[in-house]
Symmetry: C2
Subunit: 716 residues, 2 copies
C-alpha cells in the first residue's frame, strides 16, 4: 500500500511541477510524441502548427511577434515595440507616458529601423556545407571554409531578390545547416502602445521576477508597396496581408491548461562538458560579476558627487545592473542545481558507456578533446573578458573604433569586418558624435585605471601585448602608480574627449591617423588591433569545436534517448508545456496567475509602480466589463506562468492554447530560469506571459480602442 502512495505522489509531482525541456525546430516536429501532446491538450495536428500557425509568426529582430488580423496587424511586447514609441515621442506627444492609439490606418506612425521577417522556406544545406570542408584542413581552415560556404549560399539567394533575406543557421553546433529564406517587411508602423506605466509596470525592479503585473504588449502593422512587395516607408504603401493570422482567445485560463509557444529564442548553451561548464561557471562568471560590481560601485561613487554626474552615469549603471542580475541568476541557478557535479557524473557515465558498448566506441577520446580546447581557451579567457569590457569606456572604445575604421575603410565593402561595412558607418559616426552628451571624463579615467589594474593582477604570462609593451618593464611595486600616471597623462593630452577631434580622426586615413600625437588614440588602437588578432586566433578553436560538438550531442542522445533539440540560435522554435506555478524554495508556492488586484497592491505612486489613475479607478469601481475571471475572485487576470522552454529573443512570442489560439504574449522568464540557458531544471524553469485577456481589457476599458478590437478575431 505504501508503495502505491509513493507512486501516486510521484505521478502527481511530475504532473504538477515539471517543465518540458526543448526548443524544437519546426522541421523536427514530426519526431515529437504526438499522443503525449494530445493528452496534454493539443487539439490540432503538429503539421498544422508547422504549415499554418507558424506562418503568423514573425521575427522582429531582437524579439518575436505574430499577425492577428488579415491586414498585417502584429502583436508583440511593449518592450519590443518600445523603440517605435520612443522614436515618435517628443515634447509634444509623450507616447511613452500616455500611450498611443491610432484609431484609423492613416494615423499609424512610422517605426524606422523596425522590420518583420516572415519565413518563406527552410532547406537543409548540410551536405553543401560539408562538401566545402576538405580532409586534411586545419581547424582554422575548416572554420574559414564553412564561413565562406555559408556566405556564398546566402548571397546566391539574396542577389536575385532584394526583398529576400537568406541566412544559414548551424544547428546542433555544426551537425546540420539550415538555409532560412525570409521575406523582410520594411515598412512597420506603430498602431497601439499602452502607457509605460502599464506596458512596463514594475520596470527593472520586477525584471526576471514573479509575481509579475506587466501589460507588456503593443501593436504594430506591416505595410508593403501597392504591388504587394516589401518596401521602405511610403504614404502609398498598403497593409500587408499575411497568409495566416491568429485568433485571440480570452476564455478564462486555468492551471494545467496546455500551451505552446512559437518564437525566435536567441541563444542557449546546453551541450557543454562538465569541464566547460565548470570553467564558465566558476571562473568566467565570477570575473564578470566582480567587474560589474566594481564598475557599478565606482560609477555610483562618481554619480553621488552631483546631480549632473548622477544623470550621466545612470544609464550605464542600469545596464550593468541588468547584466549583473542575469549573470548572478546563472551563477545562483547552476550552483543551486549542482549542475557541474551533475555534468561530471554524466560525463563519467558517458565514458563508461563508451568503454562498454560497441556503439559507443566511436566517441572514444571525444570528451577529452573538447576539454583540451577548453584548456587552450583558459589562458586567454580572462584577458579577453577584461579587454572586451573596456568598451564600456566611451573614449577608449572610440580610440579602437577610429583606428580600426581607418584600416577597414581601405578595403572593398564586402571584405570588411561586418561592423565596418558601409551599412553600419552612419550609425557609427552618429555614436561618435552623440557620446558627448553623456561623456564624463572622470568616469572614463576611473574605469580606465580600474581595468588596467585588473590586467596588472593577471598572471604576467596572460598580460595583453599592449599592456606588456607599456608596463612590462615597471617593477611590480610601482605598477599601480605607473598605471595611474599613464592614464592621467593620456587623458590630459587626448583629443578623444572632444567631438571635433573625434570627427577629425573619423575622416582621416590610416597614414594620417598614425601621425596624430594622441596617446589615448594610440593606446586604444593597439588594444583594438590586439583584440582582433586574438579573435582571429580563436577561429581555430571554433573550427575544432564545430568538428567535435556535433559528435558530443550525438553521444548524449545515443546514451540518454531524450527528446533531442539544438541550442537556441535565433531560428524559429516550438516549445510546449502548460500553465503551472512553482515553489522557488521550501514553504513558498507561487500561483501561476496574477490579477489587477496585485497591480493595485504593488501601487506606490512612484515609478515603476505608479499606475494610471484611470486604471486604478477601473479597479476601484470593479469596472471589469466581461474580462473578470470568476476563478480569480472576479478579477481581471494580468500575467500567467507556464513551463514552456524559452529564452531571450522569445520576447513577444505568441503563447497559444491547444487550438492554436493566442492566449498571451511571452515577455520574460523567472529568476530561477535564468540558468536554464546552460542547464534546464524542470522544477523551476518558468516562462512569464502577459494574458491576452488583460490586453483586450486594456484596449477596451482603458484605451477605448474599439477599432482595434473589431479588427481582430476574439473568441471566449
Amino acid at each position: 500500500m505504501k508503495k502505491t502512495l509513493i507512486v501516486l505522489m510521484m505521478v502527481f509531482t511530475a504532473a504538477a511541477a515539471f517543465a518540458v525541456e526543448g526548443m524544437f525546430p519546426l522541421n523536427e516536429l514530426h519526431n515529437l510524441d504526438k499522443k503525449k501532446l494530445q493528452k496534454m491538450g493539443l487539439q490540432i495536428p503538429l503539421s498544422e502548427i508547422k504549415d499554418d500557425v507558424s506562418k503568423a509568426v514573425v521575427s522582429l529582430g531582437g524579439g518575436s511577434g505574430s499577425f492577428v488580423s488579415k491586414d498585417g496587424l502584429i502583436v508583440t511586447n511593449h518592450h519590443v515595440a518600445y523603440g517605435a514609441v520612443q522614436y515618435n515621442s517628443g515634447p509634444k506627444h509623450d507616447y511613452i507616458t500616455n500611450g498611443f492609439y491610432a484609431p484609423t490606418f492613416d494615423k499609424e506612425l512610422p517605426a524606422p529601423g523596425y522590420y518583420a521577417d516572415i519565413i518563406l522556406n527552410v532547406k537543409d544545406v548540410t551536405s553543401i556545407i560539408k562538401k566545402a570542408v576538405k580532409k586534411g584542413m586545419t581547424d582554422k581552415e575548416r572554420f574559414k571554409a564553412i564561413e565562406e560556404a555559408i556566405k556564398k549560399l546566402e548571397s546566391e539567394v539574396e542577389k536575385n531578390n532584394p526583398h529576400i533575406r537568406a541566412s544559414v543557421a548551424s544547428m546542433y553546433q555544426g551537425r546540420q545547416y539550415l538555409l532560412f529564406t525570409k521575406l523582410r517587411l520594411l515598412d512597420i508602423r506603430l498602431v497601439y502602445a499602452p502607457p509605460q506605466a502599464i506596458g512596463n509596470f514594475g520596470g527593472d525592479v520586477d525584471n526576471f521576477e514573479w509575481p509579475r503585473h506587466t501589460g507588456d504588449f503593443s501593436f504594430l502593422r506591416a505595410y508593403v508597396a501597392p504591388d504587394g512587395t516589401p518596401a521602405a516607408y511610403s504614404k502609398k504603401n498598403v497593409p500587408f496581408h499575411p497568409k495566416h493570422f491568429l485568433t485571440i482567445s480570452i476564455k478564462p485560463l486555468k492551471k494545467g491548461d496546455f500551451t505552446f509557444i512559437l518564437g525566435f529564442p536567441g541563444s542557449t548553451n546546453r551541450y557543454m562538458t562538465a569541464e566547460q561548464l565548470d570553467f564558465y561557471l566558476n571562473k568566467q562568471i565570477p570575473l564578470r560579476l566582480k567587474l560589474f560590481h566594481d564598475i557599478i560601485d565606482r560609477l555610483n561613487a562618481i554619480g553621488s558627487e552631483s546631480r549632473e554626474n548622477h544623470i550621466r552615469v545612470a544609464f550605464w549603471v542600469k545596464m550593468l545592473n541588468n547584466s549583473m542580475k542575469y549573470y548572478q541568476g546563472v551563477y545562483d541557478g547552476l550552483h543551486r542545481d549542482k549542475a557541474v557535479s551533475l555534468f561530471r557524473t554524466r560525463d563519467a557515465n558517458l565514458e563508461k558507456w563508451i568503454e562498454k558498448c560497441k556503439s559507443g566506441s566511436k566517441y572514444k577520446g571525444l570528451i577529452p578533446a573538447i576539454n583540451q580546447i577548453n584548456d587552450k581557451f583558459k589562458p586567454i579567457a580572462n584577458k579577453l573578458t577584461i579587454m572586451g569590457y573596456m568598451r564600456l569606456i566611451p573614449t577608449f572604445s572610440a580610440a579602437g573604433t577610429l583606428t580600426r575604421w581607418a584600416e577597414e575603410k581601405t578595403k572593398p565593402d564586402l571584405e570588411r569586418d561586418p561592423a565596418y561595412m558601409n551599412r553600419n558607418i552612419q550609425r557609427m559616426e552618429m555614436r561618435l558624435k552623440s557620446m558627448q552628451r553623456n561623456l564624463l571624463v572622470k568616469s572614463d579615467v576611473t574605469l580606465m585605471k580600474y581595468f588596467l589594474h585588473q590586467m596588472a593582477n593577471l598572471p604576467k604570462d596572460q598580460w595583453p601585448e599592449t599592456f606588456k609593451k607599456t608596463f612590462g618593464n615597471v617593477n611590480a611595486a610601482d605598477l599601480s602608480k605607473a598605471i595611474d600616471k599613464k592614464v592621467d597623462e593620456m587623458y590630459t593630452k587626448t583629443g578623444l574627449t572632444k567631438t571635433a577631434a573625434r570627427m577629425k580622426y573619423f575622416s582621416m586615413s590610416a597614414k594620417e591617423l598614425a601621425k596624430v600625437n594622441d596617446p589615448l588614440l594610440k593606446f586604444g588602437g593597439e588594444f583594438a588591433n590586439e583584440i582582433k588578432t586574438l579573435r582571429d586566433q580563436n577561429e581555430s578553436l571554433a573550427g575544432a569545436l564545430s568538428r567535435l560538438k556535433p559528435q558530443f550531442i550525438d553521444l548524449i542522445h545515443a546514451y540518454t534517448h531524450n527528446e533531442l533539440y539544438p541550442d537556441a540560435n535565433g531560428t524559429i522554435r516550438f516549445t510546449y508545456g502548460s500553465i503551472m506555478g512553482y515553489s522557488p524554495r521550501e514553504a513558498v508556492w507561487y500561483r501561476p496567475f496574477t490579477t489587477l488586484a496585485g497591480v493595485v497592491q504593488k501601487e506606490t505612486g512612484k515609478k515603476p509602480f505608479a499606475s494610471p489613475k484611470k486604471l486604478l479607478e477601473l479597479y476601484k469601481n470593479k469596472d471589469f466589463g466581461s474580462y473578470g475571471d470568476p476563478a480569480l475572485g472576479g478579477n481581471v487576470p494580468v500575467d500567467f506562468l507556464t513551463d514552456n522552454d524559452t529564452t531571450g529573443g522569445n520576447s513577444g512570442s505568441p503563447t497559444l492554447n491547444g487550438k492554436g489560439q493566442l492566449i498571451g504574449l511571452l515577455f520574460d522568464g523567472n529568476y530561477e530560469s535564468i540558468s536554464a540557458d546552460y542547464y534546464f531544471n524542470p522544477a523551476l524553469t518558468r516562462s512569464i506571459v502577459a494574458d491576452a485577456d488583460y490586453m483586450i481589457f486594456i484596449l477596451d476599458k482603458f484605451s477605448n480602442a474599439q477599432n482595434l478590437i473589431h479588427e481582430m478575431t476574439i473568441v471566449r
Copy 2:
C-alpha cells in the same frame, strides 16, 4: 445560491487567514470567549492556564522561558541564552561554534548576569496609585506623584525580602496599575546549546523572514541555595523545583492546530490617534531611516579602507542594519495597510459617535487634547532624535556619561537617575574601558560632523541650546565649515580617545572635571545635560497622556466592543491562535512548516548558511529516527508559523497546544508583522516558532543528549 457561496467563502477566509489580535493579561483571561477558544481547540480551562501553566513560565530579562522538568530545567531561545554561551566560550572551548552539552548537573556552567523571574502574585493597586494624584495637580506634578507612589509600593514589598522583586506596571497607559511580586532566581546555568550553525542558522539574513530554518533553542537550569531560597552562584546550590513544569509534545502538527503562547512581550503602541500615528510614521520614522542609512554609508566607506577598519565598524553596521530593518518594516507595513487613513476614519467615526450618543459625550474634546500634546512634542522631536542617536559616537557618548556621573555620584544612591545607581556603575566603568577595543577616531569624527550638519539643517528655532551656543553666531554660508573645523579641533585636543584619560575623568568630582580643558568632554557634557533637561520637560507631556490615554482606550472600547487588552509592557501575557501560513503578496503563498530539507536547500557552506557536517549527513542518510512527519514527506519539521499576537520580549516563549503542552518556542515574527507593534493586520501578522520536534531531534540524533531527553516529559 450565490449569496450562500459568498458567505461560505467569507467564513472560510476568516478561518483560514485571520490572526487573533490581543496580548491578554492573565488577570483578564476570564473575559475571553471560552466557547470560541474551545471550538478553536483549547482543551483545558482558562483558569488552569492562569493558575498552573503560567507558573512554568519565567522572565529572563530580555526574553521568556519555561520550566520543562521538576529540577528547574528551563528551555528558551538560543539567542536568549547566547550571552551564557559566549561567556563560557574561549580559545579552549568554542561553545558558540560547537555547541555545549552538560551530561550531568556538575558539568553545567555558570551564566552570570542571567536571572529568572517567577511571578508569585499580582495585585491591582490602581486605587492606591490614584489616591496619590490630587485634584489641581499640574501634569508634571501628576507624573511625579504617580512615579513616587509606584516607587513606594515597590520598595515596601522589596525591603522585607531580598529575593523578591516588585514592580508596578501601568496597564492601558495609566488606567490600571498592577503590582507584580516576583521571585528572582539568581543562579542560572548553561545546560545545553546547539552549535550556532543550528541555533542561529540564517543569522541576520533571515532575521524577520519566513521561510525560516533556525533551531533557536537552548537549555538553562535554575539553582537555589540548599534551603530553597534564591542565591548567587555557588557550588553548594541545588536545582530549583518549580511549582509547575511543561510537558513537551512532539506529535506531528498540522495547519489549523490551536496554539497559545505565554510570555513577556516588551512594548507595543496600538492606541494612537491618527495624528499621532501620522507624525510617527511620516516624520519620525523617515528621519530615523535617513540617519541610519547615512550613518551606515559613512561607516561602510570608512570600513572599506582597510581590513582593520572593516572589523571595527562591522558591529555597528550590523546593529544599525537590524534597527533599520525594523523601522523599514514598520514603515512598509503601516503604509501597506494605509493605517493612518484607517485611523483617521476611525477617529472621525469616534467624533461622530461622541456627538450623537449620550454615553459618548464624556469623551468630548478628548481626541483634540491628545493631538495637542502631540503638537507640543513636534518641535522638539527631531532634535531629540538626532541628539539621542549621537550616543552612537562612543567618545561623544563617554563625554556625556562622565559629566553626568560626576554630578550624580554626589547624590544618595536611591535619588540618582537609575542609570547612575550603584548597581550600574561597574558595568559603566567596564564600558568606558572596553570601548577602546573598537574605537576608530576617524569614524567618531565623521559621525560627529554628520550629526552636527543634521542639526544645522533643522529650523533655527529647533536648534539644541548647546548647538546654538557654539554655532548661533556663524553665518549660514559658513556653518558647514565651522562645524567641521570645531569637530577637528575637539578631536585634536580631547583625551576621550584614550582609556587613561577616560578613567581619570571617571574618578573625578564634578568640580575637578569642570576644570579639565577638554573641549569634547565639555561639548558632550553640555549635550548630555540638555538631553536630561528636555527629558524632564517631557514629563509634563507624559503626565498629561497618563490622564488622557486611558480615556481614549475606553472610548475605543465603548465604540467597537472589541476584545480589549492593554499594550505590551513587559508583563506576562496570553495570546491564542493557530498554525497558519499566509500570502505576503498576490500569487505567493507561504506554507506554515519548514523542514530539514529546507535547511539543506539553503546550505551554501558559508555563514550564516553553513550547517554542521553531521546534520547534513543525518539528512543525506534520512537518519531521522522517529522525528520525521509523514505529512511533510517524512522530513523533520524545523520551524512553523502561527497567527498568535507577539512581539520583542516574547523570544523563548513556550508555544503550547490545546492541552497546554509545549510544541515549540517562539523566536521571531515575519517581516510583515513588524508594523503590528502599531497596527495589527490579521491577514499578515505571524509568529515564527522553533518546532519542539526539531529540538528533540537535535538533542537525540545530533547531540546524543540522552540525559536531557530522559529528564523531560516528552509525549507524542
